[in-house]
């Protein structure tokens, strides 16, 4: 177990470096720069208010952000700043340290993601069980049709539909901004509906497979009922692999929050991420990309640890991954 954790942490560090390099080069390869974009097009643009265009100031800014240094110096500057949590300020928000920005906005995104996973799983599990128990009946077909539809439609399309249904037609939930828990309902639904689809299908198939396996026949042979076969045995064995899908699901969800926050006007990190990319705000692009990478890797890591603890075959033999 300890060996697994150490190995895993090592690979996470390696992945982190690779992601930072790839992000850095892609970012540099994108045409235009923050200064050029906001200064060159017309002097009245947003950036020009903050940056006087005189060559001296420009030089000062370039020096301040180390833009005249070789690439590896710049790259390491970003990575080091991120690791030590001394990220400095970004182009776009020169007066607010990036750390403060993250502290203000990231909790919104993370809670949106986590709540969506929680809602998704707590709906998907009963859905999957019902469909598995009623295999090949109309209940099963209806549940799986709903699941397939949910999976096939992207979350931002579902979001539009939900806005129409609950916001415009029925006036049940607010559709823009963030002033209380009810503002979370539609964003969470838009994110969790695709996940409900995928997870309930996964659980259904895995549960059906387990219910047809020999050890379940053995439970019947000992006088057990379907209920005992499912809740004492098959469900647990199907939930174990489901847990492993939660990691990737969460990664997809976190990316989904980027769209969803824009659509529902939530003050989350995704909004900042998108803006930073659009405006070539180098420090902010690097910091947000690395933050998302670290969060997703950590979640996957946690999921694997939980799996290892729950499955006796792995827990006892100590072999993982």
């Amino acid at each position: 177990m300890v060996r697994f954790v150490v190995r895993r942490l090592f690979f996470m560090a390696l992945t982190f470096l690779v992601i930072s390099l790839v992000t850095f080069f892609l970012m540099k390869a994108a045409p235009g720069s923050f200064l050029a974009m906001n200064v060159g097009v017309n002097g009245a643009s947003f950036g020009a208010d903050q940056y006087q265009v005189s060559p001296q100031v420009m030089q000062a800014i370039i020096r301040h952000y180390h833009l005249n240094q070789p690439w590896y110096f710049q790259w390491w500057g970003f990575v080091q700043g991120f690791i030590t949590l001394h990220m400095g300020t970004s182009f776009e928000y020169p007066t607010t340290p990036t750390m403060t920005l993250i502290r203000q906005t990231f909790p919104v995104s993370l809670s949106l993601g986590l709540i969506s996973v929680a809602v998704g799983l707590s709906v998907a599990i009963p859905f999957g069980i019902i469909a598995a128990v009623r295999t090949d009946t109309w209940v099963d077909s209806a549940a799986m049709l709903a699941a397939m539809t949910g999976t096939a439609i992207p979350s931002y399309v579902i979001a539009v539909f939900l806005i129409l249904l609950f916001g415009v037609w029925f006036h049940i939930f607010p559709i823009l901004g963030y002033q209380g828990p009810q503002y979370y309902v539609l964003p969470v639904l838009s994110l969790s509906i695709p996940m409900i689809g995928a997870s309930s299908r996964y659980l259904r198939n895995s549960l059906i497979e387990n219910l047809h396996s020999e050890y379940v026949i053995a439970i019947y042979a000992r006088g057990g009922s379907l209920r005992q076969a499912i809740f004492g045995n098959a469900l647990r064995n199907s939930l174990l692999p489901l847990i492993t899908t939660v990691g990737p699901q969460l990664a997809a969800l976190m990316m989904g929050t980027v769209f969803i926050e824009e659509m529902f006007g939530l003050p989350g990190m995704g909004h900042i991420f998108v803006n930073a990319a659009g405006r070539r705000d180098y420090p902010l692009i690097m910091d947000s990309a690395l933050l998302y990478a670290v969060v997703i890797m950590l979640m996957n890591f946690l999921v694997d640890i939980v799996y290892g603890v729950l499955d006796p075959r792995i827990r006892k033999s100590g072999r993982m991954g």
Binding site: I217, A218, Y220, A221, R222, G223, R236
Partner: protein
């Protein structure tokens, strides 16, 4: 009345338009305390037949005929009635013990289940009896092993656990479906001895399914030889070598390697097993039988040829009315050795 009475049992599987005729009319009885061996090659319907007694066949199975266990009409009993029998009056032992145990639960928790499911004992009592049972089937240090998981056991040990599980509620009948097939030979012998001892001590009936004639002869009182979903011969285990009559059984016995004969190529039964996708027309052994006649196009019934000895073969049945002893010598020589 016998503990198990199967009459005219037919089982077919219907899956997506593909029909498999697995069992084509079987009569089988098991008396109290008796050990019945069911022998046959794969696909002969032996497992399907015995699995129908606790009604554990998959949903696609269609059964006709009559199966009575302990006075209960199994094929028409309610689900609750069947649950009340399983694990309590009928114990089952399966071929591959690892597959028949839940990998994520301790063997102890699965071992106690027959007692807990049927409310025969509380948890503490069930645990005590579970430990006792593990000891009885030869598990060293049962208290430590109780909370181990199946993957921590060897195949032979797991089969012992499965036997303990099947017998913990002291059932009237234990069905052992190829219990030794997946084990190596030395372990096989231990498991056989254990099963036989337990059966005697607990005064149970047992149905022992195997494809191994020698194993069947060792443990059973009576042997049913199955072919193509029918019983072709039923005889006392003691008569197996001396008095067998059916050409199929003769062929099987012939193909066993023997130490008292010069070493050479072993004889075998030519041809392929029955195609179970077709309904049975005539004797299932027709294509492979060296002595078939025109009569064999209709299915022969089991005919009594001696005390607790029945054969389903037109040739054998026909001979019973043949008075001239020389008439039979031709075709059947080699099939039926010295016994006639």
């Amino acid at each position: 009345m016998d503990l198990v009475e199967i009459e005219g049992l037919r089982i077919r599987f219907d899956a997506d338009g593909q029909v498999v005729y697995a069992v084509n009319g079987i009569d089988l009885t098991v008396a109290e305390g008796q050990v019945v061996g069911v022998v046959g090659e794969s696909g002969s319907g032996k497992s399907v037949t015995v699995t129908s007694i606790p009604r554990l066949l998959p949903k696609t199975a269609r059964c006709e005929g009559r199966v009575r266990f302990d006075g209960i009409d199994v094929l028409n009993a309610s689900a609750a009635q069947m649950r009340a029998i399983r694990g309590r009056s009928v114990g089952m032992i399966f071929q591959n013990p690892l597959a028949y145990l839940n990998p994520t639960r301790t063997i102890g928790s699965q071992l106690m289940e027959p007692l807990l499911f049927h409310h025969l004992a509380g948890y503490q009592e069930a645990r005590r009896r579970g430990l006792e049972m593990l000891e009885r089937v030869g598990i060293q240090n049962p208290a430590a092993r109780f909370d181990n998981y199946p993957f921590e056991f060897s195949g032979g040990m797991l089969q012992r656990v499965l036997i303990a599980t099947a017998l913990i509620a002291a059932p009237k009948l234990v069905i052992a479906d190829e219990p030794t097939t997946s084990l190596d030979v030395t372990v096989q012998a231990q498991i056989l001895r254990l099963l036989k001892t337990m059966q005697r001590d607990l005064k149970m009936s047992m149905i022992f399914v195997t494809h191994d004639l020698a194993v069947a002869a060792q443990v059973s009182d009576t042997i049913y030889v199955m072919y193509g979903g029918t019983v072709v011969e039923q005889l006392n285990a003691a008569d197996l070598i001396r008095a067998h009559r059916h050409p199929y059984l003769a062929g099987l016995l012939d193909s066993l390697p023997r130490l008292d004969r010069p070493v050479g190529r072993l004889p075998f039964i030519p041809g392929l097993p029955v195609d179970t996708r077709q309904p049975l027309a005539g004797c299932p052994f027709f294509d492979r039988c060296g002595v078939h006649t025109d009569d064999c196009h209709t299915l022969p019934a089991l005919t009594t040829v001696g005390p607790s000895h029945r054969v389903a073969c037109w040739r054998v049945a026909g001979e019973l009315v043949v008075t001239d002893p020389t008439a039979k010598a031709g075709g059947l020589s080699g099939c039926i050795p010295e016994s006639l």
